[in-house]
């Protein structure tokens, strides 16, 4: 396909953008702060897909784009591309996290126990219309305040996967070798070749479109795949970003970020298989669907829509949304070329007189013409 630049419409384009802004309220710093404070899960989703942890900028992107998620992710990715990479942090493991939520659907009793943490899992899905009527419960209301326990929860929990490994229920893994972070395969700098290194696969899932990952993961869950997922462990946590002091060489924390991860298991022949996904921010749907897809992609002969190539290419939010919406932009020359070819075909098949007639009428006339020829021949 050839692309031809168009020009013109500059004034209309400028006015169109102004109209977009005029039909909604202006964005203010207070509104951006409000988004950060009241919609952390939305901000997390944009940061995860934007592959940039910057809550303030993600909230700004959401406000600036009027809540269009793909546009917000694009804004964040575009900003990211203007920034230099200054350093690599120390790799995060579960031992480095401050875990706030840790649950398992596979076992009710796991070492360290289960804490629900912040969750609406068991809430009634009923709109609180009192909020609209201005009679919402006050923040100071005792009923809305958490009744804190006397002792704090643990900061760290052992992995349920390690517990299963000790029982021989999932395959043992080698102790990970120390790797220079700069040598880790990076989808933002390397071409993605199939089969992808596992580091590419997991990075691509971490920044994938939540809706795309869910759609394909759900296809697997409904029966197009070969596995039945069970959440072995799901965690929401804070993690310190540990960087090296350039003068003393000592590691220090540049601050905390929200991270989340999930392991999903399914029955194998004599042991369980395990899938994994992690992302920046807290996004449970993406984790469970992503970990399911991780297992599907590892099958010898997965369903065509669940193989690695298909999943990784079709869940890239900017590539996919960008390709989709580019179809509304001017394609005048290519479309005109197609029209010319179509006219030539009509001319050859139906004759010049058929041009301009309704396509159905043309087909009917052509059929009638054939029938009359047959009738004429038969009666001769």
């Amino acid at each position: 396909m050839a692309y031809v630049a168009t020009k013109g419409g500059e004034k209309a384009i400028q006015e169109s953008e102004k109209l977009y802004h005029q039909l909604k309220k202006p964005v203010t710093p207070e509104f951006v702060q409000e988004i950060m404070d009241t919609m952390p899960y939305l901000v997390d989703r944009v940061m995860g897909e934007g592959s940039l942890y910057a809550p303030e900028l993600a909230a700004l992107a959401l406000a600036q784009s009027g809540g269009d998620l793909y546009e917000a992710v694009l804004l964040l990715r575009a900003y990211r591309s203007t920034q230099p990479r200054l350093a690599y942090a120390k790799p995060i493991t579960v031992d480095d996290m401050l875990t706030l939520r840790r649950i398992s659907a596979a076992f009710k009793d796991i070492p360290g126990g289960q804490v629900l943490g912040p969750s609406l899992d068991y809430s009634h899905r009923i709109l609180d219309l009192n909020i609209l009527d201005g009679i919402a419960a006050s923040e100071d209301d005792e009923d809305t305040q958490v009744e804190a326990a006397e002792k704090p929860a643990a900061t760290r929990y052992p992995l349920v996967a390690d517990w299963l490994r000790q029982q021989g229920m999932i395959a043992a893994i080698d102790v990970p070798e120390e790797i220079d972070a700069a040598d880790i395969p990076d989808v933002t700098r390397d071409p993605v070749m199939m089969p992808a290194p596992r580091a590419h696969r997991l990075q691509a899932l971490a920044r994938a479109d939540t809706g795309g990952v869910l759609a394909l993961g759900y296809a697997s869950m409904r029966g197009y795949g070969f596995i039945h997922p069970t959440v072995n462990e799901l965690r929401l946590a804070y993690a310190d970003v540990q960087v090296k002091h350039p003068v003393t060489g000592e590691p220090f924390s540049a601050g905390r970020v929200r991270v989340s991860q999930a392991e999903v298991v399914t029955k194998g022949k004599s042991t369980y298989k395990i899938g994994f996904t992690a992302t920046m921010g807290w996004n449970e749907v993406k984790l469970i669907a992503g970990a399911t897809l991780d297992m599907e992609m590892s099958q010898a002969d997965p369903h065509p829509a669940l193989n690695e190539d298909f999943v990784l290419y079709h869940t890239e939010p900017i590539e996919s949304s960008g390709f989709c919406i580019h179809f509304k932009l001017p394609h005048y020359v290519t479309f005109s070329s197609g029209m010319d070819n179509m006219r030539k075909v009509i001319n050859v098949l139906y004759g010049a007189a058929a041009a301009g007639k309704d396509a159905d009428d043309r087909e009917v006339e052509a059929e009638e013409s054939k029938t009359s020829e047959v009738v004429t021949k038969d009666t001769m």
Binding site: V146, A153, V247
Partner: protein, 141 residues
């Protein structure tokens, strides 16, 4: 008062302290430090690697927006980096780091770091007590 904290240790606490408090401390140190040469003061990215607990693969989770400052005075260097895009906060951290390196106002700095660490520990403790209240004992029938 002898220095009881490493520079990295102090930075780890101050990066999570309220920015106005860090900036106010840095302001109070500037006079003693004399002319400061700014080597870097910018925003940028830190790539965050993550370890896959299923197969042990280390991969890149994504990048973190940070602000950093690297300064020099009296033959010593100071450095600060903080999550976010507040380059003034990063500069304040670098000033405090430089003061620790030079031994200026060490007691004042350590006192503030201690206070902030206690506050952060108390905040974490309260958070984890709330988390503990969500501990669930599932029963099967």
């Amino acid at each position: 008062m002898p220095q009881t904290r490493s520079r990295a240790d102090a930075l780890s606490v101050l990066t999570k302290a309220p920015a106005p408090i860090v900036k106010a401390l840095a302001d109070s140190l500037l006079d003693e430090l004399g002319d400061i040469r700014v080597l870097k003061n910018q925003t940028g990215l830190v790539m965050l690697p993550y370890t896959d607990s299923a197969q042990g693969t280390t991969f890149h989770l994504g990048e973190i927006l940070v602000a950093e400052a690297h300064i020099e005075a009296q033959g010593q260097e100071g450095y600060g980096m903080v999550v976010g895009r507040d380059v003034v906060q990063a500069m304040a951290l670098a000033v405090i780091d430089l003061a620790l390196a030079l031994g200026h106002q060490t007691a004042t700095i350590i006192q503030l770091v201690d206070e902030q660490q206690q506050q952060q520990a108390a905040d974490d403790d309260h958070l984890l007590k709330m988390v503990e209240s969500t501990r669930v004992e599932m029963e099967t029938f």
